[in-house]
Protein backbone atom coordinates (compact mmCIF):
# COMPACT_ATOMS: atom_id res chain seq x y z
CA UNK A 1 0.00 0.00 0.00
CA UNK A 2 2.62 2.51 1.07
CA UNK A 3 4.65 2.44 -2.10
CA UNK A 4 6.56 5.63 -2.48
CA UNK A 5 5.24 8.06 -5.07
CA UNK A 6 2.17 5.91 -5.82
CA UNK A 7 3.46 4.54 -9.06
CA UNK A 8 0.82 4.80 -11.73
CA UNK A 9 -2.92 4.37 -12.04
CA UNK A 10 -2.46 0.98 -13.58
CA UNK A 11 -1.21 -0.47 -10.32
CA UNK A 12 -3.93 0.99 -8.14
CA UNK A 13 -6.33 -1.69 -6.97
CA UNK A 14 -4.08 -4.25 -8.54
CA UNK A 15 -5.81 -7.15 -6.81
CA UNK A 16 -9.19 -6.01 -8.04
CA UNK A 17 -7.86 -5.82 -11.56
CA UNK A 18 -6.43 -9.30 -11.28
CA UNK A 19 -9.81 -10.47 -10.00
CA UNK A 20 -11.45 -8.88 -13.02
CA UNK A 21 -9.14 -10.54 -15.54
CA UNK A 22 -11.52 -13.47 -16.12
CA UNK A 23 -14.35 -11.04 -16.80
CA UNK A 24 -12.25 -8.97 -19.17
CA UNK A 25 -11.14 -12.15 -20.90
CA UNK A 26 -14.69 -13.46 -21.22
CA UNK A 27 -16.17 -10.24 -22.48
CA UNK A 28 -13.41 -9.09 -24.80
CA UNK A 29 -11.80 -12.31 -26.04
CA UNK A 30 -14.65 -14.84 -25.95
CA UNK A 31 -17.87 -12.93 -26.40
CA UNK A 32 -16.58 -10.12 -28.57
CA UNK A 33 -13.42 -11.58 -30.12
CA UNK A 34 -14.69 -15.07 -30.89
CA UNK A 35 -17.94 -13.75 -32.34
CA UNK A 36 -16.13 -11.34 -34.62
CA UNK A 37 -13.74 -14.11 -35.64
CA UNK A 38 -16.65 -16.34 -36.62
CA UNK A 39 -18.36 -13.55 -38.55
CA UNK A 40 -15.13 -12.72 -40.42
CA UNK A 41 -14.43 -16.35 -41.28
CA UNK A 42 -17.97 -16.81 -42.54
CA UNK A 43 -16.81 -14.84 -45.59
CA UNK A 44 -14.07 -17.35 -46.39
CA UNK A 45 -14.10 -20.65 -48.20
CA UNK A 46 -12.86 -22.59 -45.15
CA UNK A 47 -13.46 -26.30 -45.39
CA UNK A 48 -11.62 -28.63 -43.05
CA UNK A 49 -9.55 -25.87 -41.46
CA UNK A 50 -10.20 -22.15 -41.18
CA UNK A 51 -8.43 -20.42 -44.07
CA UNK A 52 -8.42 -16.72 -44.75
CA UNK A 53 -9.26 -16.71 -48.47
CA UNK A 54 -12.21 -14.43 -48.72
CA UNK A 55 -15.02 -15.22 -51.11
CA UNK A 56 -17.54 -12.54 -50.24
CA UNK A 57 -21.10 -13.71 -49.71
CA UNK A 58 -20.60 -17.10 -51.38
CA UNK A 59 -21.25 -19.06 -48.18
CA UNK A 60 -24.44 -17.14 -47.57
CA UNK A 61 -25.67 -17.72 -51.11
CA UNK A 62 -25.03 -21.41 -50.67
CA UNK A 63 -26.68 -21.32 -47.25
CA UNK A 64 -29.86 -19.70 -48.46
CA UNK A 65 -30.17 -22.08 -51.38
CA UNK A 66 -29.72 -25.14 -49.18
CA UNK A 67 -33.08 -26.79 -48.66
CA UNK A 68 -32.08 -28.15 -45.27
CA UNK A 69 -31.30 -24.63 -44.02
CA UNK A 70 -34.54 -23.27 -45.42
CA UNK A 71 -36.47 -25.99 -43.62
CA UNK A 72 -34.60 -25.17 -40.39
CA UNK A 73 -35.47 -21.50 -40.66
CA UNK A 74 -39.09 -22.23 -41.43
CA UNK A 75 -39.26 -24.63 -38.48
CA UNK A 76 -37.70 -22.07 -36.21
CA UNK A 77 -40.24 -19.45 -37.30
CA UNK A 78 -43.24 -21.73 -36.83
CA UNK A 79 -42.03 -23.37 -33.65
CA UNK A 80 -40.75 -20.06 -32.29
CA UNK A 81 -43.93 -18.07 -32.77
CA UNK A 82 -46.16 -20.87 -31.50
CA UNK A 83 -44.03 -21.50 -28.46
CA UNK A 84 -43.72 -17.77 -27.68
CA UNK A 85 -47.48 -17.31 -27.82
CA UNK A 86 -48.25 -20.45 -25.86
CA UNK A 87 -45.63 -20.05 -23.14
CA UNK A 88 -46.61 -16.46 -22.49
CA UNK A 89 -50.37 -17.00 -22.60
CA UNK A 90 -50.18 -20.20 -20.55
CA UNK A 91 -47.60 -18.78 -18.17
CA UNK A 92 -49.67 -15.68 -17.51
CA UNK A 93 -52.95 -17.55 -17.16
CA UNK A 94 -51.43 -20.00 -14.71
CA UNK A 95 -49.86 -17.15 -12.75
CA UNK A 96 -53.25 -15.42 -12.51
CA UNK A 97 -54.86 -18.64 -11.30
CA UNK A 98 -52.07 -19.10 -8.77
CA UNK A 99 -52.58 -15.55 -7.56
CA UNK A 100 -56.19 -16.14 -6.48
CA UNK A 101 -55.16 -16.92 -2.90
CA UNK A 102 -55.54 -20.59 -3.53
CA UNK A 103 -54.66 -23.35 -1.17
CA UNK A 104 -51.76 -25.68 -1.87
CA UNK A 105 -50.03 -22.96 -3.84
CA UNK A 106 -46.61 -24.39 -3.05
CA UNK A 107 -47.66 -27.84 -4.18
CA UNK A 108 -48.97 -26.52 -7.49
CA UNK A 109 -45.81 -24.48 -7.98
CA UNK A 110 -43.59 -27.45 -7.24
CA UNK A 111 -45.45 -29.58 -9.76
CA UNK A 112 -45.40 -26.96 -12.51
CA UNK A 113 -41.76 -26.10 -12.08
CA UNK A 114 -40.07 -29.46 -11.67
CA UNK A 115 -39.71 -30.11 -15.43
CA UNK A 116 -37.61 -26.98 -15.62
CA UNK A 117 -34.97 -28.68 -13.48
CA UNK A 118 -34.68 -31.49 -16.02
CA UNK A 119 -32.45 -31.32 -19.05
CA UNK A 120 -33.82 -31.07 -22.57
CA UNK A 121 -32.38 -34.50 -23.24
CA UNK A 122 -34.49 -36.05 -20.48
CA UNK A 123 -37.51 -34.01 -21.61
CA UNK A 124 -37.13 -35.10 -25.21
CA UNK A 125 -36.68 -38.76 -24.36
CA UNK A 126 -39.67 -38.89 -22.03
CA UNK A 127 -41.97 -37.31 -24.56
CA UNK A 128 -40.61 -39.52 -27.29
CA UNK A 129 -41.86 -42.41 -25.19
CA UNK A 130 -45.22 -40.87 -24.25
CA UNK A 131 -45.87 -40.08 -27.92
CA UNK A 132 -44.68 -43.49 -29.09
CA UNK A 133 -47.26 -44.63 -31.67
CA UNK A 134 -47.41 -48.26 -30.55
CA UNK A 135 -47.28 -47.97 -26.78
CA UNK A 136 -48.00 -44.30 -26.07
CA UNK A 137 -51.16 -42.23 -26.23
CA UNK A 138 -52.15 -43.45 -29.70
CA UNK A 139 -51.72 -47.10 -28.77
CA UNK A 140 -53.77 -46.74 -25.62
CA UNK A 141 -56.70 -44.98 -27.28
CA UNK A 142 -56.68 -47.64 -29.99
CA UNK A 143 -56.67 -50.27 -27.28
CA UNK A 144 -59.91 -48.81 -25.97
CA UNK A 145 -61.54 -49.80 -29.23
CA UNK A 146 -61.15 -46.63 -31.30
CA UNK A 147 -59.08 -48.37 -33.94
CA UNK A 148 -58.78 -45.48 -36.38
CA UNK A 149 -57.49 -43.00 -33.79
CA UNK A 150 -54.29 -41.35 -35.03
CA UNK A 151 -51.97 -39.30 -32.89
CA UNK A 152 -48.41 -39.85 -33.98
CA UNK A 153 -46.80 -36.43 -34.26
CA UNK A 154 -43.19 -37.60 -34.08
CA UNK A 155 -43.42 -39.69 -37.24
CA UNK A 156 -45.49 -37.25 -39.24
CA UNK A 157 -43.51 -34.47 -40.97
CA UNK A 158 -46.50 -32.15 -40.80
CA UNK A 159 -47.05 -32.58 -37.09
CA UNK A 160 -43.57 -33.12 -35.73
CA UNK A 161 -43.18 -29.49 -34.63
CA UNK A 162 -46.28 -29.84 -32.48
CA UNK A 163 -44.77 -32.89 -30.87
CA UNK A 164 -41.73 -30.82 -30.01
CA UNK A 165 -43.96 -28.01 -28.84
CA UNK A 166 -45.80 -30.24 -26.35
CA UNK A 167 -42.45 -31.19 -24.80
CA UNK A 168 -41.02 -27.67 -24.86
CA UNK A 169 -44.10 -26.23 -23.18
CA UNK A 170 -43.98 -28.96 -20.57
CA UNK A 171 -40.43 -28.00 -19.73
CA UNK A 172 -40.66 -24.22 -19.91
CA UNK A 173 -44.08 -22.85 -18.96
CA UNK A 174 -43.52 -23.38 -15.24
CA UNK A 175 -40.61 -20.99 -15.36
CA UNK A 176 -42.60 -18.35 -17.22
CA UNK A 177 -45.41 -18.84 -14.70
CA UNK A 178 -42.94 -18.18 -11.85
CA UNK A 179 -41.70 -14.99 -13.52
CA UNK A 180 -45.23 -13.77 -14.16
CA UNK A 181 -46.35 -14.64 -10.64
CA UNK A 182 -43.47 -12.59 -9.23
CA UNK A 183 -44.62 -9.75 -11.46
CA UNK A 184 -48.23 -10.04 -10.26
CA UNK A 185 -47.10 -10.04 -6.63
CA UNK A 186 -45.13 -6.88 -7.30
CA UNK A 187 -48.27 -4.94 -8.18
CA UNK A 188 -49.42 -2.51 -5.56
CA UNK A 189 -52.41 -3.55 -3.45
CA UNK A 190 -53.90 -0.08 -3.89
CA UNK A 191 -54.35 -0.63 -7.61
CA UNK A 192 -56.68 -3.50 -6.87
CA UNK A 193 -58.55 -1.47 -4.28
CA UNK A 194 -58.97 1.42 -6.69
CA UNK A 195 -60.36 -0.74 -9.48
CA UNK A 196 -62.69 -2.40 -7.03
CA UNK A 197 -64.02 0.95 -5.86
CA UNK A 198 -64.59 1.88 -9.48
CA UNK A 199 -66.45 -1.36 -9.99
CA UNK A 200 -64.25 -2.61 -12.82
CA UNK A 201 -64.65 -6.38 -13.26
CA UNK A 202 -61.63 -8.50 -12.42
CA UNK A 203 -60.97 -9.82 -15.91
CA UNK A 204 -61.07 -6.29 -17.28
CA UNK A 205 -58.67 -5.08 -14.59
CA UNK A 206 -56.18 -7.71 -15.70
CA UNK A 207 -56.38 -6.70 -19.34
CA UNK A 208 -56.63 -2.95 -18.99
CA UNK A 209 -54.56 -2.29 -15.87
CA UNK A 210 -52.40 -5.20 -14.82
CA UNK A 211 -50.97 -6.34 -18.16
CA UNK A 212 -49.84 -2.84 -19.16
CA UNK A 213 -48.28 -2.44 -15.71
CA UNK A 214 -46.42 -5.69 -16.14
CA UNK A 215 -44.91 -4.63 -19.44
CA UNK A 216 -41.31 -4.97 -18.20
CA UNK A 217 -41.97 -8.53 -17.01
CA UNK A 218 -43.53 -9.43 -20.35
CA UNK A 219 -40.65 -7.94 -22.28
CA UNK A 220 -38.04 -9.72 -20.16
CA UNK A 221 -39.90 -13.00 -20.57
CA UNK A 222 -40.20 -12.46 -24.28
CA UNK A 223 -36.48 -11.83 -24.66
CA UNK A 224 -35.49 -14.80 -22.48
CA UNK A 225 -37.85 -17.18 -24.25
CA UNK A 226 -36.94 -15.93 -27.71
CA UNK A 227 -33.21 -16.22 -27.02
CA UNK A 228 -33.81 -19.76 -25.78
CA UNK A 229 -35.77 -20.71 -28.89
CA UNK A 230 -33.01 -19.59 -31.24
CA UNK A 231 -30.57 -21.81 -29.33
CA UNK A 232 -32.96 -24.79 -29.47
CA UNK A 233 -30.86 -27.90 -30.00
CA UNK A 234 -30.81 -30.60 -27.31
CA UNK A 235 -34.55 -31.13 -27.28
CA UNK A 236 -34.70 -31.83 -31.01
CA UNK A 237 -31.66 -34.09 -30.85
CA UNK A 238 -33.23 -36.19 -28.10
CA UNK A 239 -36.81 -36.25 -29.27
CA UNK A 240 -36.61 -36.55 -33.05
CA UNK A 241 -32.94 -36.23 -34.11
CA UNK A 242 -34.20 -33.79 -36.73
CA UNK A 243 -36.51 -36.32 -38.32
CA UNK A 244 -38.61 -37.71 -39.81
CA UNK A 245 -36.40 -36.93 -42.79
CA UNK A 246 -35.43 -33.32 -42.32
CA UNK A 247 -38.81 -32.27 -41.00
CA UNK A 248 -37.67 -31.04 -37.58
CA UNK A 249 -34.26 -29.61 -38.41
CA UNK A 250 -33.29 -26.42 -36.58
CA UNK A 251 -30.47 -23.93 -37.29
CA UNK A 252 -28.35 -25.04 -34.33
CA UNK A 253 -28.27 -28.58 -35.74
CA UNK A 254 -27.27 -27.28 -39.14
CA UNK A 255 -24.37 -25.41 -37.56
CA UNK A 256 -23.22 -28.43 -35.60
CA UNK A 257 -23.32 -30.84 -38.49
CA UNK A 258 -21.49 -28.54 -40.92
CA UNK A 259 -18.88 -27.51 -38.36
CA UNK A 260 -18.09 -30.80 -36.70
CA UNK A 261 -19.34 -33.54 -39.01
CA UNK A 262 -19.38 -32.42 -42.64
CA UNK A 263 -16.15 -30.43 -42.15
CA UNK A 264 -17.47 -27.53 -44.08
CA UNK A 265 -16.51 -24.78 -41.67
CA UNK A 266 -17.50 -21.88 -43.90
CA UNK A 267 -21.11 -23.07 -44.00
CA UNK A 268 -21.11 -23.57 -40.25
CA UNK A 269 -19.77 -20.07 -39.69
CA UNK A 270 -22.27 -18.51 -42.06
CA UNK A 271 -25.15 -20.36 -40.40
CA UNK A 272 -24.02 -19.40 -36.91
CA UNK A 273 -23.65 -15.79 -38.03
CA UNK A 274 -27.27 -15.91 -39.10
CA UNK A 275 -28.16 -17.18 -35.63
CA UNK A 276 -26.24 -14.29 -34.12
CA UNK A 277 -28.09 -11.91 -36.39
CA UNK A 278 -31.46 -13.24 -35.29
CA UNK A 279 -30.51 -12.80 -31.63
CA UNK A 280 -29.48 -9.22 -32.36
CA UNK A 281 -32.85 -8.60 -34.00
CA UNK A 282 -34.50 -9.63 -30.74
CA UNK A 283 -31.96 -7.97 -28.49
CA UNK A 284 -31.40 -4.53 -30.00
CA UNK A 285 -34.99 -3.25 -29.74
CA UNK A 286 -35.11 -4.60 -26.19
CA UNK A 287 -31.84 -2.89 -25.20
CA UNK A 288 -33.11 0.29 -26.82
CA UNK A 289 -36.36 0.14 -24.85
CA UNK A 290 -34.63 -0.76 -21.60
CA UNK A 291 -31.68 1.56 -21.61
CA UNK A 292 -32.89 4.22 -24.01
CA UNK A 293 -35.98 4.62 -21.85
CA UNK A 294 -34.00 5.00 -18.64
CA UNK A 295 -32.27 8.15 -19.81
CA UNK A 296 -35.56 9.89 -20.48
CA UNK A 297 -37.40 8.62 -17.44
Amino acid sequence: MATPARKSRVFRNLNAKIAAVPMIFCSMVVFLGFSIWTVVYSFTSSKLLPKANFVGFDQYERLWSNSRWLVSIENLMVFGSLSLIFTIVMGFTLAVLMDQKIRFEDTFRTIMLYPFALSFIVTGLVWQWVLNPDFGIQGIVRGWGWESFAFDPLNNPKLVLYGLLIAALWQGTGFVMALMLAGLRGIDEDIWKATRVDGIPTWKTYIVVIIPMMRPVFITTLVLVAAGIIKLYDLVIAQTSGGPGNASQVPAMYVYSYMFQAQNLGQGFAASTMMLLSVLIVLIPWAYLEFGGKKHG
Partner: protein, 307 residues
Protein backbone atom coordinates in the same frame (compact mmCIF):
# COMPACT_ATOMS: atom_id res chain seq x y z
CA UNK B 1 -61.14 -28.23 -1.50
CA UNK B 2 -64.25 -27.57 0.55
CA UNK B 3 -62.43 -25.82 3.35
CA UNK B 4 -60.64 -23.67 0.81
CA UNK B 5 -63.93 -21.87 0.35
CA UNK B 6 -64.63 -21.70 4.05
CA UNK B 7 -61.47 -20.23 5.44
CA UNK B 8 -59.33 -19.80 2.34
CA UNK B 9 -59.13 -16.14 1.39
CA UNK B 10 -59.57 -14.63 4.84
CA UNK B 11 -57.26 -16.96 6.67
CA UNK B 12 -54.59 -16.53 4.03
CA UNK B 13 -54.94 -12.77 3.92
CA UNK B 14 -53.70 -12.61 7.47
CA UNK B 15 -50.57 -14.53 6.59
CA UNK B 16 -49.72 -13.06 3.23
CA UNK B 17 -51.20 -9.76 2.14
CA UNK B 18 -50.30 -10.19 -1.49
CA UNK B 19 -52.46 -9.47 -4.53
CA UNK B 20 -55.78 -9.23 -2.76
CA UNK B 21 -58.91 -10.11 -4.61
CA UNK B 22 -62.55 -9.66 -3.71
CA UNK B 23 -63.48 -12.50 -1.43
CA UNK B 24 -66.26 -14.42 -3.01
CA UNK B 25 -67.23 -17.75 -1.62
CA UNK B 26 -68.90 -18.79 -4.83
CA UNK B 27 -67.81 -22.33 -5.31
CA UNK B 28 -68.25 -22.10 -9.07
CA UNK B 29 -65.23 -19.86 -9.30
CA UNK B 30 -63.19 -22.12 -7.09
CA UNK B 31 -64.19 -25.22 -8.99
CA UNK B 32 -62.97 -23.54 -12.15
CA UNK B 33 -59.65 -22.50 -10.60
CA UNK B 34 -58.86 -25.80 -8.94
CA UNK B 35 -60.23 -27.76 -11.86
CA UNK B 36 -57.98 -25.97 -14.32
CA UNK B 37 -54.96 -26.29 -12.07
CA UNK B 38 -55.64 -29.98 -11.56
CA UNK B 39 -55.81 -30.61 -15.30
CA UNK B 40 -52.60 -28.65 -15.81
CA UNK B 41 -50.89 -30.62 -13.07
CA UNK B 42 -51.93 -33.82 -14.81
CA UNK B 43 -50.05 -32.63 -17.91
CA UNK B 44 -46.99 -31.89 -15.79
CA UNK B 45 -47.06 -35.10 -13.78
CA UNK B 46 -47.99 -37.53 -16.53
CA UNK B 47 -44.51 -37.94 -18.07
CA UNK B 48 -42.90 -38.47 -14.67
CA UNK B 49 -45.50 -41.10 -13.83
CA UNK B 50 -45.06 -42.84 -17.17
CA UNK B 51 -41.30 -42.75 -16.82
CA UNK B 52 -41.29 -44.34 -13.37
CA UNK B 53 -43.95 -46.93 -14.20
CA UNK B 54 -42.28 -48.03 -17.41
CA UNK B 55 -38.94 -48.35 -15.68
CA UNK B 56 -40.43 -50.75 -13.13
CA UNK B 57 -41.95 -53.16 -15.67
CA UNK B 58 -40.41 -56.09 -17.45
CA UNK B 59 -40.22 -55.93 -21.26
CA UNK B 60 -43.08 -58.42 -21.84
CA UNK B 61 -45.37 -56.25 -19.77
CA UNK B 62 -44.23 -53.08 -21.58
CA UNK B 63 -45.04 -54.69 -24.92
CA UNK B 64 -48.48 -55.70 -23.69
CA UNK B 65 -49.60 -52.21 -23.59
CA UNK B 66 -50.73 -49.49 -21.30
CA UNK B 67 -47.88 -47.12 -20.44
CA UNK B 68 -50.00 -45.41 -17.80
CA UNK B 69 -50.83 -48.54 -15.86
CA UNK B 70 -48.74 -49.39 -12.80
CA UNK B 71 -46.64 -52.55 -13.13
CA UNK B 72 -48.36 -55.85 -12.37
CA UNK B 73 -45.05 -57.36 -11.46
CA UNK B 74 -42.64 -54.81 -10.17
CA UNK B 75 -39.00 -55.31 -11.09
CA UNK B 76 -35.90 -53.24 -10.48
CA UNK B 77 -33.98 -55.12 -13.14
CA UNK B 78 -34.23 -52.25 -15.71
CA UNK B 79 -32.61 -49.88 -13.20
CA UNK B 80 -29.80 -52.28 -12.55
CA UNK B 81 -29.30 -52.81 -16.24
CA UNK B 82 -29.39 -49.09 -17.05
CA UNK B 83 -26.87 -48.33 -14.34
CA UNK B 84 -24.44 -51.17 -14.89
CA UNK B 85 -24.97 -52.94 -18.23
CA UNK B 86 -26.48 -50.65 -20.87
CA UNK B 87 -24.33 -50.34 -23.98
CA UNK B 88 -23.07 -47.38 -25.93
CA UNK B 89 -21.00 -48.59 -28.83
CA UNK B 90 -18.50 -51.06 -27.47
CA UNK B 91 -18.73 -50.03 -23.83
CA UNK B 92 -21.24 -52.02 -21.88
CA UNK B 93 -20.75 -50.76 -18.38
CA UNK B 94 -23.95 -48.76 -18.24
CA UNK B 95 -24.76 -45.22 -17.29
CA UNK B 96 -22.60 -45.38 -14.18
CA UNK B 97 -19.67 -44.34 -16.35
CA UNK B 98 -21.51 -41.25 -17.56
CA UNK B 99 -22.63 -40.51 -14.04
CA UNK B 100 -19.08 -40.44 -12.71
CA UNK B 101 -17.91 -38.44 -15.72
CA UNK B 102 -20.62 -35.89 -14.98
CA UNK B 103 -19.57 -35.76 -11.35
CA UNK B 104 -15.96 -35.19 -12.38
CA UNK B 105 -17.06 -32.42 -14.73
CA UNK B 106 -19.64 -30.79 -12.49
CA UNK B 107 -17.75 -30.58 -9.20
CA UNK B 108 -14.67 -28.64 -10.37
CA UNK B 109 -16.71 -26.55 -12.83
CA UNK B 110 -19.09 -25.46 -10.10
CA UNK B 111 -16.33 -24.61 -7.63
CA UNK B 112 -14.15 -22.73 -10.12
CA UNK B 113 -16.99 -20.82 -11.79
CA UNK B 114 -18.55 -19.73 -8.49
CA UNK B 115 -15.22 -18.65 -7.04
CA UNK B 116 -14.18 -16.64 -10.10
CA UNK B 117 -17.57 -15.02 -10.53
CA UNK B 118 -18.04 -14.13 -6.86
CA UNK B 119 -14.62 -12.49 -6.63
CA UNK B 120 -15.42 -10.67 -9.83
CA UNK B 121 -18.79 -9.47 -8.57
CA UNK B 122 -17.12 -8.26 -5.40
CA UNK B 123 -14.47 -6.38 -7.37
CA UNK B 124 -17.18 -4.80 -9.51
CA UNK B 125 -19.01 -3.40 -6.51
CA UNK B 126 -16.30 -2.50 -4.04
CA UNK B 127 -13.20 -1.99 -6.15
CA UNK B 128 -14.51 -0.28 -9.21
CA UNK B 129 -11.95 0.80 -11.74
CA UNK B 130 -12.23 2.68 -14.96
CA UNK B 131 -14.00 0.62 -17.57
CA UNK B 132 -15.16 -2.14 -15.23
CA UNK B 133 -18.82 -1.43 -15.99
CA UNK B 134 -18.17 -1.50 -19.73
CA UNK B 135 -16.71 -4.98 -19.50
CA UNK B 136 -19.63 -6.02 -17.35
CA UNK B 137 -22.17 -4.74 -19.88
CA UNK B 138 -20.45 -6.62 -22.70
CA UNK B 139 -20.42 -9.71 -20.52
CA UNK B 140 -24.18 -9.51 -19.91
CA UNK B 141 -25.00 -8.92 -23.56
CA UNK B 142 -22.58 -11.68 -24.45
CA UNK B 143 -24.71 -14.15 -22.55
CA UNK B 144 -27.35 -13.81 -25.27
CA UNK B 145 -24.97 -14.77 -28.08
CA UNK B 146 -25.79 -18.30 -29.28
CA UNK B 147 -23.02 -20.67 -28.22
CA UNK B 148 -22.75 -21.91 -31.78
CA UNK B 149 -21.11 -18.63 -32.74
CA UNK B 150 -18.27 -19.13 -30.27
CA UNK B 151 -17.86 -22.89 -30.44
CA UNK B 152 -15.24 -23.17 -33.13
CA UNK B 153 -12.89 -20.44 -31.93
CA UNK B 154 -13.18 -22.04 -28.51
CA UNK B 155 -12.14 -25.40 -29.95
CA UNK B 156 -9.16 -23.70 -31.60
CA UNK B 157 -8.18 -21.98 -28.36
CA UNK B 158 -8.40 -25.17 -26.33
CA UNK B 159 -6.42 -27.03 -28.96
CA UNK B 160 -3.70 -24.38 -28.80
CA UNK B 161 -3.63 -24.70 -25.02
CA UNK B 162 -3.49 -28.48 -25.32
CA UNK B 163 -6.76 -28.78 -23.42
CA UNK B 164 -9.11 -29.88 -26.20
CA UNK B 165 -11.00 -33.01 -25.28
CA UNK B 166 -9.81 -32.90 -21.68
CA UNK B 167 -11.74 -32.43 -18.51
CA UNK B 168 -9.82 -29.25 -17.68
CA UNK B 169 -10.87 -27.82 -21.00
CA UNK B 170 -14.53 -28.50 -20.31
CA UNK B 171 -14.24 -26.99 -16.82
CA UNK B 172 -12.79 -23.87 -18.44
CA UNK B 173 -15.68 -23.74 -20.93
CA UNK B 174 -18.28 -24.06 -18.18
CA UNK B 175 -16.53 -21.37 -16.16
CA UNK B 176 -16.49 -18.98 -19.11
CA UNK B 177 -20.11 -19.46 -20.08
CA UNK B 178 -21.25 -19.37 -16.47
CA UNK B 179 -19.61 -15.99 -15.92
CA UNK B 180 -22.40 -13.64 -17.06
CA UNK B 181 -25.23 -15.01 -14.96
CA UNK B 182 -23.10 -15.68 -11.89
CA UNK B 183 -21.36 -12.33 -11.98
CA UNK B 184 -24.73 -10.64 -12.28
CA UNK B 185 -26.04 -12.66 -9.35
CA UNK B 186 -23.11 -11.83 -7.07
CA UNK B 187 -22.76 -8.25 -8.17
CA UNK B 188 -26.41 -7.53 -7.37
CA UNK B 189 -26.17 -9.28 -4.04
CA UNK B 190 -23.00 -7.48 -2.96
CA UNK B 191 -24.52 -4.19 -4.06
CA UNK B 192 -27.28 -4.68 -1.52
CA UNK B 193 -24.84 -5.10 1.37
CA UNK B 194 -24.13 -1.98 3.48
CA UNK B 195 -21.11 -0.14 2.21
CA UNK B 196 -20.08 0.94 5.71
CA UNK B 197 -19.07 -2.62 6.41
CA UNK B 198 -16.56 -2.54 3.61
CA UNK B 199 -15.33 0.92 4.54
CA UNK B 200 -14.82 -0.02 8.17
CA UNK B 201 -12.75 -2.99 7.13
CA UNK B 202 -10.69 -0.81 4.84
CA UNK B 203 -10.03 1.64 7.65
CA UNK B 204 -8.87 -1.25 9.78
CA UNK B 205 -6.34 -2.05 7.11
CA UNK B 206 -7.87 -5.18 5.57
CA UNK B 207 -6.94 -5.77 1.96
CA UNK B 208 -8.77 -7.12 -1.07
CA UNK B 209 -8.65 -10.83 -0.27
CA UNK B 210 -9.02 -10.44 3.47
CA UNK B 211 -12.27 -8.52 3.07
CA UNK B 212 -13.50 -11.08 0.57
CA UNK B 213 -12.78 -14.12 2.72
CA UNK B 214 -13.57 -12.70 6.15
CA UNK B 215 -16.51 -10.40 5.44
CA UNK B 216 -18.12 -10.83 2.05
CA UNK B 217 -18.04 -14.60 1.84
CA UNK B 218 -19.46 -15.41 5.29
CA UNK B 219 -22.13 -12.75 4.92
CA UNK B 220 -23.43 -13.91 1.58
CA UNK B 221 -23.88 -17.63 2.03
CA UNK B 222 -27.50 -17.65 0.73
CA UNK B 223 -26.44 -16.32 -2.63
CA UNK B 224 -23.66 -18.91 -2.78
CA UNK B 225 -26.29 -21.59 -2.28
CA UNK B 226 -28.41 -20.08 -5.07
CA UNK B 227 -25.36 -20.03 -7.35
CA UNK B 228 -24.57 -23.62 -6.39
CA UNK B 229 -28.07 -24.82 -7.31
CA UNK B 230 -27.99 -22.88 -10.56
CA UNK B 231 -24.62 -24.24 -11.60
CA UNK B 232 -25.05 -27.85 -10.53
CA UNK B 233 -28.32 -28.22 -12.44
CA UNK B 234 -27.05 -26.19 -15.41
CA UNK B 235 -23.80 -28.10 -15.82
CA UNK B 236 -25.34 -31.48 -15.08
CA UNK B 237 -27.97 -30.86 -17.76
CA UNK B 238 -25.52 -29.59 -20.37
CA UNK B 239 -25.39 -31.54 -23.60
CA UNK B 240 -23.83 -29.31 -26.27
CA UNK B 241 -20.50 -28.64 -24.53
CA UNK B 242 -20.16 -32.28 -23.61
CA UNK B 243 -20.59 -33.30 -27.23
CA UNK B 244 -18.30 -30.66 -28.66
CA UNK B 245 -15.47 -30.46 -26.16
CA UNK B 246 -15.12 -34.10 -25.12
CA UNK B 247 -13.44 -36.09 -27.84
CA UNK B 248 -13.49 -39.62 -26.41
CA UNK B 249 -16.81 -41.41 -26.04
CA UNK B 250 -15.74 -42.96 -22.74
CA UNK B 251 -15.46 -39.48 -21.19
CA UNK B 252 -18.91 -38.30 -22.24
CA UNK B 253 -21.09 -36.78 -19.53
CA UNK B 254 -24.29 -38.51 -18.49
CA UNK B 255 -26.68 -36.58 -20.77
CA UNK B 256 -24.65 -37.40 -23.87
CA UNK B 257 -24.32 -41.04 -22.93
CA UNK B 258 -28.03 -41.25 -22.16
CA UNK B 259 -28.90 -39.89 -25.58
CA UNK B 260 -26.53 -42.37 -27.20
CA UNK B 261 -28.05 -45.28 -25.32
CA UNK B 262 -31.69 -44.40 -25.98
CA UNK B 263 -31.38 -43.13 -29.53
CA UNK B 264 -29.03 -45.83 -30.75
CA UNK B 265 -30.40 -47.59 -33.79
CA UNK B 266 -28.79 -50.94 -33.10
CA UNK B 267 -30.39 -53.75 -31.22
CA UNK B 268 -33.83 -54.28 -29.78
CA UNK B 269 -35.25 -51.28 -28.00
CA UNK B 270 -35.61 -51.90 -24.31
CA UNK B 271 -38.02 -49.20 -23.35
CA UNK B 272 -37.97 -50.05 -19.67
CA UNK B 273 -34.18 -49.77 -19.50
CA UNK B 274 -34.32 -46.54 -21.50
CA UNK B 275 -36.79 -45.02 -19.09
CA UNK B 276 -34.76 -46.16 -16.08
CA UNK B 277 -31.70 -44.53 -17.65
CA UNK B 278 -33.63 -41.33 -18.33
CA UNK B 279 -34.90 -41.30 -14.77
CA UNK B 280 -31.38 -41.84 -13.42
CA UNK B 281 -30.06 -38.86 -15.40
CA UNK B 282 -32.89 -36.66 -14.24
CA UNK B 283 -32.54 -37.72 -10.64
CA UNK B 284 -29.68 -35.43 -9.63
CA UNK B 285 -31.35 -32.15 -10.67
CA UNK B 286 -34.70 -33.42 -9.38
CA UNK B 287 -33.28 -34.16 -5.94
CA UNK B 288 -31.65 -30.74 -5.86
CA UNK B 289 -34.94 -29.21 -6.92
CA UNK B 290 -37.00 -30.90 -4.23
CA UNK B 291 -34.47 -30.19 -1.48
CA UNK B 292 -33.83 -26.57 -2.35
CA UNK B 293 -37.45 -25.53 -2.92
CA UNK B 294 -37.78 -21.77 -3.06
CA UNK B 295 -34.05 -21.17 -3.44
CA UNK B 296 -34.28 -22.93 -6.78
CA UNK B 297 -36.94 -20.52 -7.95
CA UNK B 298 -34.72 -17.69 -6.85
CA UNK B 299 -31.80 -19.15 -8.74
CA UNK B 300 -33.61 -19.52 -12.03
CA UNK B 301 -35.38 -16.20 -11.67
CA UNK B 302 -31.95 -14.61 -11.23
CA UNK B 303 -31.58 -14.76 -14.99
CA UNK B 304 -34.54 -12.47 -15.28
CA UNK B 305 -33.39 -9.94 -12.69
CA UNK B 306 -31.81 -7.06 -14.46
CA UNK B 307 -28.71 -5.31 -13.20
Amino acid sequence: MADATVNGPHANAAVSPRGAKPTRRLSGRNIMIYGTLAVVCLYYLLPLWVMVMTSLKGMPEVRLGNIFAPPLEMTFQPWVKAWAEACTGLNCDGLSRGFWNSVRITVPSVIVSIFVASVNGYALINWRFKGSEVFFTILIFGSFIPYQVMLYPMVVMLRELGLYGSLTGLVLVHTIFGMPILTLLFRNYFASMPEELFKAARVDGAGFWRIYFHIMLPMSLPIFVVALILQVTGIWNDFLFGVVFISKAENYPMTVQLNNIVNSVQGVKEYNVNMAATMLTGLVPLIIYFISGKLFVRGIAAGAVKG
